[in-house]
Symmetry: C2
Subunit: 202 residues, 2 copies
Amino acid sequence: MAKGMTFIIAGPSGVGKGSVIKKVFESGRKLYFSVSATTRAPRPGERDGVDYHFISYEQFQSWIAEGAFLEHAEFVGNCYGTPKRYVDEAMDRGEDVILDIEVQGAEQIHRLRPEAVRIFLAPPSWAELRRRLTGRGTESEEKVEKRLQRSREEFQVAREYDYLVVNDNLEQAAAEVLAIIAASHCRAEDRYEAVRRTLEAQ
Amino acid sequence: MAKGMTFIIAGPSGVGKGSVIKKVFESGRKLYFSVSATTRAPRPGERDGVDYHFISYEQFQSWIAEGAFLEHAEFVGNCYGTPKRYVDEAMDRGEDVILDIEVQGAEQIHRLRPEAVRIFLAPPSWAELRRRLTGRGTESEEKVEKRLQRSREEFQVAREYDYLVVNDNLEQAAAEVLAIIAASHCRAEDRYEAVRRTLEAQ
């Protein structure tokens, strides 16, 4: 059985990574969504191992020491990270892995796993991203402007990504991600040896 | 409007390039199929500009001299070539171009147009390719064996292609080619500037 591949969906806060990934999963394609580990307390309704792997600060630090994370970061006093283990187990089962990740975290994973396919999700315009961030109603205007400034800076790394998808229309964006997943499995450099062996075996 | 891209479908004789391309066209995606030029006489039912551009030997030689071909070759006394002009016109109209090409011709195009996406179409097995070649009933056993030997040699270049598709199941092969076309339009290196301009314009 062919090993699964890892696909990183990165992009600015508010661009709709979660919605696009949800749509991609609705396609029925067999995919594994990587669940992050965090030291923050579960919110009402959140389930351990589904929404997050909820672990202690000490546990998190020992995982860092063991090199058990593909990437990790701290936000407002809480730690978040992507455990290697579940990603590797899924790929060994032949499943493709989808990672929903901030741009900084994507850089860490790229250094560790240059073979992971990087997809940058961009908004149709900065004005639309502002609307989406403001629409959440959870942040002050100043915070929204700071996030926008950071998003503009982060967009510059998109040039180095494998793919760039604009989240203007959700269906279209999800279809593009699915095409990227399907096409990535056709890459000659990865597929050549297996096809050569099959051809010669018969 | 974004410019179209060129997709080269290459692979051994008998692998089913024509059938896969036909299936790809049935998807309804807007594509341009490049019509070759030839010096051979039209067969009954063949239409000029549809099946081939039928031109004289002198015309063909002057097109070679003008650099009007993306690739050209001679088979059993007749010349065949891919005219640049129609390919470029289609791309300028924003259409993707599909080229059905022998492996040798694909090498010529790759040198001239390294940006063209190369897809190698492989048979599921050499035994199956032999069946398909024998099934045509047009060639002696010796010729079939020669073609097979050449196909095995040609397969070695597939490693350097962008993509490798196995024509085991026609629908699956066509779906993979369509995914490759869709994904190629999402490549960050090609798309970044246009997206950046759109983002800044609003």
